[in-house]
Every structure is written in structure tokens, then in C-alpha cells.
């Protein structure tokens, strides 16, 4: 408390004004567009930046726009299903790499990193070609089966991220616990279920959050896999933005931003354990893909 009044220490860079100014400027740069977007979704004027009064009418319009709602529901459905599949596949891949020695392990490890580092456009065209030539996805399937191609594409780039996060967590597992469980008569499966899985839990939360946001965020890969009747929210917004900038898009975007913020808060609360958060950061750090 005393230190607060003294001159800043040599390494307290945060207390030096040039750096504070810099941080403030960067903060404005990062947040001003998003905040302006949210604020003007409530402005009672189509074109003006001058505040004309508070209104919910663009939310009403957005919520009555059937194709926008359909795209929104599609996006959430795809993200939810992709997250579950990615979580299972990612956790299994992490377990395999952590637990076993096997021929071709380096190759599998390297191949698993490919979807993370490959440029999104390359993945997108690969999926386009695959679903055009190898596995043509039927056009007129009932919902949600018509989303299958997009879900498959999303799982392909999401589950390696989950594997990275879970593997980071498994590295801190004390293998003596497993040996103790085995000595006490637990089977392989039982040990996996009752000893290793609880240890993995925080990283599963982090991985699920990562997979969900990656899937919800994706535009390029979806753009290449989606048909005319399987539009997701980003693809819909893209086609709207191409024509004009309208407050309805502001309103819809605000809703999605709020969903993201709530999810982030929930994920941070659920994780609690800092070790798993680190895994999450490491994975995001490793995410050199994305646009």
C-alpha cells in the first residue's frame, strides 16, 4: 500500500505514463470499433452517427429476419456438435500420444499439427474438393443432417486444438497415481475413467471452449463447404455486408458478441485451475491459422 505513493519502481512499467498512454491507445484501437458497433445497434437512425434516440427496433427486425435466425441456429448447432466430436477425438488423440509408444508416432504427431498450421484457405479448398468428388453430401437432407459436411470440416480443424490443450494438461499428471490404482486392482478402463479422466477435466473445459469458439468463428472453411441452403451466421453476415451496412447486422452482431462474452466468462469460471488455462493459451498461441 505504501508503495502506491512512491515513484514507480524500475520495472513497474505499467505505472509509467508513456506506457499507460500506449496501452490506452491500443485499447481504443481494439475496442472502439466493437463498442461503436454495439452502441449504434440501439441508435434510432439508419445512416447517421448522430445519436437520434434509443431503440430496440433493429433487434426486432433482426429477430424477425427468418433467414438470419436460421443461420444463427445453424451456427450454434454446428458449433455444439463439432465441439462434442472434437472433444472426444482430441482427448483420445492426446491420450494415445501421452500414453503409448508406437511405430509412426512422430508421423501422427506431425500430421495432427497440420490442420493447426495449414492456412485456412487450403483447408477450405481441400474440403470443397473432397465433398465434390469423394463424398458428395446429399443436398436435400432434413435438418440437422444437411449440416453434416460443415460439421465434418469443422471437426477436422478443431480436434487437433483440443488434443494440444489436453496433452498439455496430461503432461502434469503424476503417473504414480495410475500405478497405485493398478496396484489396488483397478483395470485399465477403470483407471482411465476414475483417475486420469478427472485429471483431464479442466483441459476438457478449455478444449471445449476453444473448439466452440473456433467453430462459431469460422468463415472461410464454411464458405467452401456450405451449400445454398446451409448458411451459417458468418456466411449470412458476409452476404449482407457485401450489399450494405445495416443496423440489423449491428444488432445481430451484438447478440453474438454477448454470447461470446458469456461463454468466455463461463469457461473461465469453470476452469478455475490455472494449469488448464495455460494449456488454452498455449494452444491459442499456436494457432497461426485463421485468416
Amino acid at each position: 500500500m505504501m508503495a502506491r505513493r512512491s515513484a514507480p519502481g524500475p520495472l513497474e512499467y505499467l505505472r509509467r505514463w508513456p506506457l499507460r498512454l500506449w496501452l490506452a491507445a491500443v485499447g481504443i484501437f481494439l475496442y472502439a470499433p466493437l463498442i461503436a458497433l454495439m452502441v449504434f445497434s440501439f441508435n434510432d437512425s439508419r445512416r447517421n452517427v448522430v445519436w437520434q434516440g434509443f431503440t430496440f427496433k433493429y433487434y426486432e427486425k433482426a429477430l424477425n429476419n427468418a433467414s438470419l435466425i436460421e443461420a444463427f441456429v445453424n451456427s450454434l448447432t454446428i458449433a455444439a456438435v463439432s465441439t462434442v466430436l472434437s472433444l472426444i477425438l482430441g482427448a483420445l488423440a492426446a491420450l494415445a500420444l501421452w500414453r503409448f509408444r508406437f511405430p509412426g508416432k512422430t508421423g501422427f504427431d506431425g500430421a495432427l499439427a497440420l490442420p493447426i498450421v495449414a492456412p485456412e484457405i487450403c483447408l477450405g479448398v481441400a474440403m470443397l474438393v473432397f465433398f465434390a468428388k469423394v463424398l458428395p453430401w446429399p443436398q436435400d437432407l432434413p435438418w440437422p443432417l444437411n449440416l453434416g459436411a460443415i460439421i465434418i470440416a469443422h471437426v477436422s480443424f478443431c480436434f487437433p486444438f483440443v488434443a494440444v490443450v489436453v496433452r498439455g494438461r496430461l503432461a502434469s499428471f503424476n503417473r504414480e497415481l495410475e500405478e497405485a490404482a493398478r496396484d489396488l486392482g483397478a483395470s485399465e478402463w477403470r483407471t482411465l475413467k476414475d483417475v486420469i479422466l478427472p485429471h483431464m477435466a479442466p483441459s476438457l473445459v478449455a478444449g471445449a471452449f476453444l473448439a466452440f469458439t473456433l467453430s462459431l468463428d469460422d468463415f472461410v472453411i464454411t464458405f467452401f463447404t456450405s451449400g445454398p441452403d446451409t448458411v451459417t451466421f458468418p456466411v449470412k453476415v458476409y452476404s449482407m455486408v457485401r450489399f450494405s451496412v445495416t443496423p440489423e447486422v449491428n444488432a445481430a452482431s451484438t447478440i453474438l458478441i454477448l454470447v461470446t462474452v458469456i461463454l468466455t466468462a463461463a469457461a473461465l469460471k469453470l476452469q478455475g485451475d490455472p494449469a488448464s488455462t495455460e494449456g488454452g493459451h498455449a494452444a491459442r498461441d499456436r494457432n497461426p491459422k485463421r485468416h
Binding site: Y13, L14, A93, I121, V125, P234, I257, R284
Partner: protein, 301 residues
């Protein structure tokens, strides 16, 4: 110790099987097909004959496409440089912030990162376009100035000319910096956070200024982190599709836009496949360079 797979075949198969199956069928095979197509030729409207030709790669050497490659690399490099200049002080401030402020600052850096890319790009469009927030604000200031000028009788200010902020290379670089800044800050932070602060303190005690300490002590020690930040920013910037598409003008096309055109409009899949594998190889080269950069300091130690 890791277990040999033969000692628990059932468990091993159950654990490795599904992810391996998925990775091969839904990633490696699609990629492999694109790779094969890059050596193919169009036959008719939909058929592609795999003739083992290198013509698609040779076509990429056409000055028109070479220029686009060069321009994409230039834009990505400029984006990376600006991100580094903006991001380094931010990472430094976060590293030496008190624990509570640190958590919030990190969260503040990451939150836009988790926000939908399309929404962020759209937010920028709303700012930059001709009737956007910036031009409308400027017009308001201009009109205010204009009436002040005419009241004072100095002269008459002409009508407001909106600035062309959107649909040019400036907007593309701005958009890329906006989107990729967190990619730079996070690895820089994790490198700086691991730094031995006593070295910095020693340098400061011995009379070196802050700038000198940064350049001579901090920057070399944080080099692996800087290298990974640079690569993590450069790779997605190089392959970006959405930002040049929405913010750029007709002359700001990047590699990804050309690839998209081959697949969706020009319907020249073999050429598009060759272009996307060239982009893949450039990505691998960038990663290999980073691996080299981050290994060197460890070898010296």
C-alpha cells in the same frame, strides 16, 4: 514411462483408432487430392486428368501471379512489423503488471480474439466507409469549421470531401493489424514472462537506460518469443482471405483471393490447387525458419 502399444492392444486401438481414422479420411485424403490435382489438367467442364504436368506451377511464375505473391508477402510482413511495434510495449506492460491487473489485461487482449472475425471486420467497415463513423465525424467538424469561417468572413470552405479510407491497401493493412494484434502480444508476453528480471535490474543498476536495456538485454533474450510471435502473425496474415476481400480494393487481392477465384469462379481447380500448395510450402518455410531461430539461443547456452 510410456507404455509399448503391444502391452495393451485393445486400449491402444480404441484410443488411437478414431482420431487416426478422422485425420486420414477427413484431412489427409482431401489434402492429398488437392496435391494430386495440382499436377492435373482440366478436361471438359468437371473432369480433371492427372497428367503429372508442372504447367500449373509454371503458370504461377507468370509476372501477374508473382506480383500477387510478392504483394501478399509484403502486406503480411508490414502487418507483422506494425503488430510487433504496437504489441511489444503492450506485452512489456502486461509482464510487469501486478497479478490482478495482469489477468484483466490478458483478458482484454484476448476478448476481441474470441469475437467473430466477420463481426470485427464489419465493425471496421462501419468506421472506414465513405458514410462511416470517421467520415461523418470529420464532416461534422468540417461543417462547424465552415460556418465559423463564414461568420468571421475569412472566406468559404468548400463542401466536405470524404476521405477514401475503405477499399484500398491501407484498409487491408489496418484490418490485418486489427485482427492479428493478439497473435503477436500473447507469445511476446509468454516469452517476456519467462525472462529473468534480475538481468534487467542489473542492467538498470549499472546505469543503462530503459531503451538501451530493452535493446541490448531484453530483445536478445526474448528472441525466441519474438520469432514465434512474428511467425504466428505472419502465417495467418499471408493466407488471409476475408480482410482483403471485404476491406481491399480491386488491386489489394492476396493469394487466398486468387485461390478462391480459381475454385469458385474461374473453375480452374488444378491451378487453384497448385497455388494453395505454394501457399502451404511458404507456411512450412516460415515455420522452419522460426524453429531455427528459437533453437539457436539454446545451443549457445
Amino acid at each position: 514411462m510410456e507404455q509399448h502399444w503391444k502391452s495393451a492392444k485393445g486400449l491402444f486401438g480404441a484410443v488411437l483408432g478414431p482420431p487416426l481414422f478422422w485425420l486420414v479420411l477427413f484431412f489427409l485424403i482431401p489434402m492429398g487430392i488437392v496435391w494430386l490435382y495440382s499436377f492435373g489438367e482440366n478436361r471438359g467442364l468437371t473432369d480433371i486428368a492427372l497428367t503429372g504436368t508442372f504447367a500449373n506451377y509454371l503458370r504461377a511464375l507468370d509476372p501477374l501471379y508473382l506480383m500477387i505473391f510478392a504483394k501478399s508477402v509484403g502486406i503480411a510482413a508490414l502487418t507483422t512489423l506494425i503488430c510487433l511495434i504496437i504489441g511489444f510495449p503492450v506485452a512489456l506492460a502486461i509482464t510487469f503488471a501486478p497479478p490482478k491487473a495482469k489477468t484483466w489485461l490478458l483478458l482484454a487482449v484476448m476478448l476481441p480474439f474470441w469475437t467473430n472475425l466477420l463481426i470485427r471486420t464489419y465493425a471496421l467497415i462501419a468506421f472506414l466507409r465513405t458514410e462511416g463513423y470517421i467520415n461523418q465525424s470529420l464532416e461534422w467538424v468540417w461543417n462547424g469549421l465552415g460556418s465559423a469561417v463564414s461568420v468571421l468572413g475569412i472566406g468559404v470552405l468548400g463542401p466536405f470531401e470524404p476521405l477514401d479510407l475503405l477499399h484500398n491497401n491501407f484498409a487491408v493493412v489496418l484490418g490485418l493489424v486489427y485482427v492479428h494484434l493478439p497473435f503477436m502480444v500473447l507469445p511476446l508476453y509468454s516469452a517476456l514472462d519467462r525472462l529473468d528480471t534480475s538481468l534487467i535490474e542489473a542492467s538498470l543498476d549499472l546505469g543503462a537506460g530503459h531503451l538501451r536495456t530493452l535493446l541490448i538485454i531484453v530483445a536478445p533474450l526474448a528472441l525466441p518469443g519474438i520469432a514465434s510471435g512474428v511467425v504466428i502473425t505472419f502465417i495467418p496474415a499471408l493466407g488471409s482471405y476475408l480482410t482483403p476481400d471485404l476491406l481491399g480494393g480491386p488491386d489489394s487481392q492476396m493469394i487466398a483471393n486468387i485461390i478462391e477465384r480459381q475454385f469458385k469462379r474461374a473453375n480452374d481447380w488444378p491451378f487453384g490447387a497448385a497455388l494453395s500448395f505454394l501457399l502451404m510450402y511458404m507456411t512450412f518455410i516460415a515455420i522452419a525458419l522460426q524453429a531455427l531461430m528459437s533453437r539457436r539461443p539454446r545451443e549457445r547456452a
